[in-house]
Symmetry: C2
Amino acid sequence: MQIRSAETKSQIIGAAYLLFAQTGYDATGVAEICQAAGVSKGAFYYHFPSKQALFLELMENWLAELDRGFEQSIQDAQSVPEAIEQMASTAAKTLQSERAHLSIILEFWRQAYRDPAVWQYASAPYRRYHRYLTTLIQQGISDGTLRKINPEVAARVFVSLALGLLMQAIFDPQEVDWEQETQQSVRLLLNAFVEEAS
Amino acid sequence: MQIRSAETKSQIIGAAYLLFAQTGYDATGVAEICQAAGVSKGAFYYHFPSKQALFLELMENWLAELDRGFEQSIQDAQSVPEAIEQMASTAAKTLQSERAHLSIILEFWRQAYRDPAVWQYASAPYRRYHRYLTTLIQQGISDGTLRKINPEVAARVFVSLALGLLMQAIFDPQEVDWEQETQQSVRLLLNAFVEEAS
DNA sequence: AGAATTATACCAACCGGTCGGTATTTTTTG
DNA sequence: CAAAAAATACCGACCGGTTGGTATAATTCT
């Protein structure tokens, strides 16, 4: 039956997700994953050709989910600053809900640095967000909402801000309310970027 | 004599630095490090109690060097914005010179996430920079150079920007001139933060 | 039955770390 | 000063344990 098969596969991915986030890719053995998933090694290698392949699929799923969250939120924004603020809010909320397993991102980055195939998947989102933000800011400038700043650079600042906050959230999960911190940071920037009422 | 001893030790650290940056901590074997350093395994374990200890020492050295670069540059700045700009410039230059081995930072972060001892060393600098930037911005506000922004938040933005740009520089070492990109980003922010001439 | 799926047993490679012993340098002693 | 003793620095074979992956048998589903 395909139902059971699919079930075991997602069991494996789920267990691997938790273990990779908890202990890291290298330190997590295949046997360990199988045990946590309640599945044998044979089943594992029936569904995945290798540990690395499992990792890639896991990452694809994760990033796709992240994208899904974004696309829903971007829809209805009245102004450019509001759109950016909403993007930030969505990102913060998504990450907040997964804050216990954010370290999986460290694993993504590490693998991405070594394996070109992983790099392709991992780097695409950032490029896309940068491009999207650039056009958004351009639009804000031409409709007079934003001051005449360099859209490319400003977009890079936002992407960097997101990455930087993410890093800090990974390492200080409780110290600070990162959702609020994100909101404050973005507002600070937007206030500094909006055209003064004349 | 201690000279030979110190020599071999630094040979080991040097070789480990390159290999860790190239292949990662886990994937780099002790034997491999020894071979690259032209030294035996016995010598290795004479100088370091464990692979992990070597890593820690390597990281301490690296971070201390980074600090040294900063302290020299911060000295003579005429204004608060100039001080920040100079900090950014120094950071960018330092990282530019080591751009081929920046991925060692990924290793730092990963180990820091697991080992509390490593975490202490790795997180201290960024806390320090955040604190320093906060007072710097506070000063800029009280002397009328900067607008009335939240110093804590603004400092966080700068730290995040640095982390974010660093991440991107690690993954796209050639695509962009990150030294220039850093300068542009910081200037954009500073321009947005300075008090308009009245 | 037979194809798909899961379980068990196993392997070869590798890895961090140890250990008995050797070479080299420094210190002590006659 | 030189011989002896001690301390330091280094060598490389070796070990216990782990790991990703495989071969093959058992089971389940259609």
